[in-house]
């Protein structure tokens, strides 16, 4: 078995460990009866943490073996960066766990990491050679520190989600109930995306097209999902596959739009099935699970994560980024979309820290802010990389 195979297997082990860990964490916080429940919870929580740490070590093993194999840190394409992001979220969770001994965080942190790793796995995991601008030791320093900062900030969203799961009454109609369910629905959509990709890949779906791009040149495109949206002036080259239903103008990447469409279809079907079987909203199902958590402590963990993560993020995503940009391009700042979105993330958390100073921005509001902050981080990871092309773009097509 070569190093790269070992690396892949370790990642799989980590993934399974996180799944198992989630179940144990669920068990640890569920018990509410007085029949020695505290002890049982403690025991389950300990097992859960051990499983999580085993998973993390496997994940770290994946990272190191791939690093050795490639000769540079595996953070240079979408698959690698996203996988590493998932790993750092687990690391940040373990760190915060040892500070606060808050078992309940695992119930949200692990599923978030699982979704992120699952999402990463949908991207090609080949070992790509490095273009000249990435051949610098700053690649490791900048990307890894930025990812660590984002991961610690993500823990504040984990605490925020947990806070909201408990604080929002699933029986009373409210705006926050609606939005919380929307957040959970988004999580299901990610599952939908993974499922759609796996299924169409499994049946080996392929449809080849030629189309006219924005520069009026003819280009080729391979769809791996049934084309709902067609590229500008497309011609279908493959027999016996679906013709696109709608043609898009050249500026829109109809292939990606098609992927988003199928993610919505699969995700929504899963969501509807869950609703039909349980006859309850997801919020309503999760709400009773988290009754034991202490809201005050969660609020503090959320705030503290931002306090710990903010300097790390500043250092990695802004300071190191500027030093590297100065070295590679002779300018420390170039208003590249990814740079701008790192700045936006930074400004947002700066606003969060200042809002914590004024009255009435603790608790629920603060939890929502943490969730929005995480949404911005994900936007920077997904939309800016895949849609808004720039220097940092991993996929220009």
């Amino acid at each position: 078995m070569s190093l790269i195979d070992i690396s892949g297997n370790l990642l799989f082990v980590a993934f399974i460990a996180y799944l198992v860990g989630t179940l144990f964490f669920g068990g640890a916080i569920k018990s509410t009866k007085p029949d020695g429940a505290v002890n049982r919870a403690d025991k389950w929580g300990k097992i859960a943490l051990v499983v999580t740490i085993i998973g993390f070590l496997a994940h770290l093993g994946y990272f190191i073996t791939r690093w050795i194999y490639k000769g540079h840190a595996p953070v240079s394409n979408m698959f690698e960066f996203t996988t590493a992001f998932g790993m750092f979220i687990i690391a940040a969770f373990i760190l915060i766990y040892y500070m606060y001994r808050l078992t309940a965080l695992g119930v949200v942190a692990l599923p978030v990491a699982i979704l992120i790793i699952g999402y990463a796995a949908m991207f090609p995991n080949d070992v790509d050679p490095l273009v000249p601008s990435l051949q610098s030791y700053w690649l490791h320093i900048h990307v890894i520190t930025a990812a660590m900062g984002q991961s610690i900030l993500a823990i504040s969203a984990v605490a925020g989600l947990l806070y909201l799961l408990k604080a929002i009454d699933p029986k009373a109609k409210s705006k926050s109930r609606f939005w919380m369910e929307a957040v959970l629905y988004f999580g299901v959509l990610v599952v939908g995306f993974i499922l759609a990709t796996v299924i169409f890949r499994g049946i080996g779906y392929e449809a080849n097209f030629t189309y006219i791009d924005t520069k009026d040149a003819e280009a080729e495109m391979v769809y791996n999902m049934p084309a709902i949206f067609g590229m500008n002036e497309y011609t279908l080259l493959t027999d016996d596959v679906m013709e696109p239903l709608v043609e898009m103008p050249p500026v829109i990447n109809a292939k990606k739009l098609t992927t988003v469409f199928w993610a919505f279809v699969f995700g929504s079907i899963i969501y509807l099935v869950i609703r039909l079987i349980t006859r309850r909203s997801i919020l309503d199902m999760l709400h009773p699970l988290v009754q034991k958590v202490n809201l005050n402590l969660l609020d503090e963990v959320g705030y503290r994560s931002v306090l710990i993560g903010f300097p790390v993020f500043t250092l990695g995503a802004l300071v190191f980024a500027m030093i590297w940009a100065q070295e590679a391009w002779g300018r420390f700042w170039g208003w590249d979309p990814k740079e701008v979105w790192a700045l936006i993330t930074w400004l947002f958390y700066a606003a969060y820290l200042h809002l914590r100073l004024s009255k009435g921005w603790e608790g629920k509001k603060s939890a929502w802010l943490a969730v929005i902050g995480f949404a911005i981080i994900l936007f920077n990871l997904i939309v800016v990389n895949l849609v808004i092309a720039g220097l940092h773009s991993y996929a220009s097509n």
Binding site: D126, P129, V251, R304, I308, V340, H354
Partner: protein, 551 residues
């Protein structure tokens, strides 16, 4: 100015919430609330005390945290708008009409609107810079407004605080010691708090243990760093501080460096290397066949000797030989050369054979150096070729005259006059790539194309940024400040032993209540103190209204 005189006799400036000496609440609001507002330790801040003149009003506006947050959010939104479509400097057309056409063609009417509103160049627009400027003013004003009173009140802290101050802290305890002799309690508290690395001061029957006070200065330090950084950015507008020039230089060529007086640079060789890997799935997705591995220009940097005439390329001293690569700029004397662009296989010279069309016999070879074309090329006494016209980038005829689109030799064309022993009066021929026109009918001779010599061209940028040290200092101050403010916390514990030996205790921290409670648990167990309560946990609604709001 009006003063508030506390019951204890201490004079406080108007606007003070908690007496600077004993801590008694002075305002109605402070008197009725269950937990006092410990922001700036109750000191009067300028914006809360004066509101008369227009300057006061402007000051008050910018000192408000609410205004500051609003400005952060507005800046955030403005910055995000600039990422909807690519900014102008990322598209490869140069003139205004071309840009307008580009946005409309590529992004439709939305793109046109984007361009017309100036959003395609957001970051250098006057209003974006004004927004950043307003944020900077807000940072300065708010920091001065709050930082100075906070510093004063932290510096002049008394050990003994009034009952009404203690009882309105978030964490309080009152009662008899749970075990042992109460006479020794204060000593035990002092011993334990010192072990926990607190600074302990005692005044009669009162004790103040304090730790991490410097953490309170973190936000002010990082604001100073930000201002230094923003000032450095503005300094770049001052001439001489900032040079940003780009230059194209061909292999074998030497050119004066723009923006760097007295220096010449020579391009010895440009190298492009590619990875020889199998195409990966990602490459396939991106439509990339090969991935570049290295862009490199081997250069020699020369400096004119002293007292030479500016621009004169003789009398040069070699300064440095270097291979400029991406991530590895050539640095000298505050200037840096970066590898930015390249053009491969530009035509350097074209070789022709003067040939007799019928017999195919060659009368001699002519090599034309496109960078330095000669008027005539003499082969022997009777044979020569006159170059009557040279069009480096031939683009067609206009009124019978050949035209050139650019001075770059992308598509060279020539008008030759061939003087031979057979035709001493000369024959005229227009020669372009794959095209020959003989204006005076049938020629006997032709200029037969033989070969072409090419060379590569490298695009370098020349940078000098004298603001870099200042930017670095600003950045470093900011990081230090933000780390101090985030990773250290200001914790205080006030303990007083009353006449009857019972203990009254209050504690405050600016951040991380979980942490201070651990310390309190330790000291409570060690000195047998009464159990403390967290007043904010009594009533969740109350807490949300009150908030704990400290810097």
């Amino acid at each position: 100015m009006e003063k508030i005189i506390c019951v204890c006799g201490h004079e406080n400036p108007a606007g003070t919430k908690l007496c600077g000496k004993c801590g008694r609440p002075l305002t109605e609001e402070a008197k009725t609330s269950k937990i006092v507002d410990m922001k700036y330790d109750g000191a009067a801040i300028r914006s809360k005390t004066r509101n008369k003149s227009i300057i006061d009003k402007i000051w008050n506006f910018f000192s408000s945290v609410r205004v500051g947050i609003t400005l952060i959010i507005i800046n955030l939104i403005a910055a995000s708008i600039g990422t909807i479509f690519p900014q102008e400097f990322y598209i490869s057309v140069s003139t205004e009409p071309e840009k307008a056409a580009y946005y409309e063609k590529t992004y439709g009417s939305l793109g046109k609107l984007y361009y017309e509103l100036g959003l395609s160049n957001v970051y250098s627009s006057w209003w974006f810079q004004v927004l950043v400027g307003l944020l900077a003013i807000s940072i300065i004003v708010a920091s001065i407004d709050r930082g100075i009173p906070l510093h004063k009140s932290l510096k002049n802290q008394r050990v003994k605080r009034h009952e009404s101050f203690m009882k309105r802290q978030r964490i309080i305890a009152e009662g008899a010691v749970t075990e042992g002799d109460s006479a020794n309690t204060m000593n035990l508290v002092e011993e334990k708090m010192k072990k926990l690395r607190y600074k302990v001061r005692r005044d009669g029957n009162a004790l103040l243990a304090e730790r991490g006070r410097f953490a309170r200065y973190g936000p002010y330090i990082n604001h100073v760093g930000l201002i230094v950084f923003l000032t450095a950015v503005m300094l770049r507008l001052v001439p001489g501080f900032y040079v940003d020039e780009s230059m194209w230089i061909r292999e074998g060529e030497m050119r004066a460096v723009p923006g760097m007086e007295g220096y010449f640079i020579e391009n010895e060789k440009f190298i492009l290397e590619t990875h020889d890997n199998q195409q990966t799935e990602n490459q396939e997705l991106q439509g990339v066949n090969v991935v570049a591995k290295n862009y490199q220009t081997d250069v020699k940097l020369y400096k004119q000797a002293d007292n030479s005439i500016p621009g004169q390329a003789d009398n040069l001293e070699l300064v440095k030989e270097y291979s400029v690569r991406v991530n590895h700029p050539l640095q000298h004397d505050g200037y840096a050369f970066y590898q930015m662009d390249f053009r491969l296989n530009e035509i350097k010279a074209m070789n022709f054979e003067l040939t007799n069309k019928e017999t195919g016999a060659s009368l001699g070879a002519v090599s034309i150096d496109l960078a330095n074309p000669q008027d005539e090329y003499v082969i022997n006494d009777q044979t020569k070729v006159e170059l009557m016209g040279y069009y480096p980038d031939f683009s067609g005829f206009e009124n019978g005259e050949p035209q050139t689109a650019t001075p770059t030799p992308n598509n060279p064309a020539f008008i030759f006059k061939m003087v031979t022993p057979d035709k001493p009066e000369g024959e005229i021929s227009f020669v372009a790539i794959q095209q020959t026109i003989e204006p005076n009918g049938d020629n006997t001779h032709k200029m037969a194309f033989n070969s072409v010599e090419t060379r590569n061209m490298s695009g370098l940028t020349v940078h000098k940024d004298s603001t870099i040290p200042m930017l670095a200092i600003g950045g470093a101050i900011f990081m230090i400040g933000v780390v101090i403010g985030s990773y250290w916390h200001h914790r205080r514990l006030w303990v007083e032993q009353l006449e009857d030996g019972t203990i009254r205790l209050a504690a405050h921290t600016n951040k991380n209540w979980f942490g201070i409670k651990k310390d309190l648990d330790a000291v409570t167990a060690f000195a047998h103190l009464p159990t403390y309560i967290d007043q904010s946990e009594d009533d969740q609604d109350e807490k949300e209204k009150e908030g704990d709001s400290t810097l």
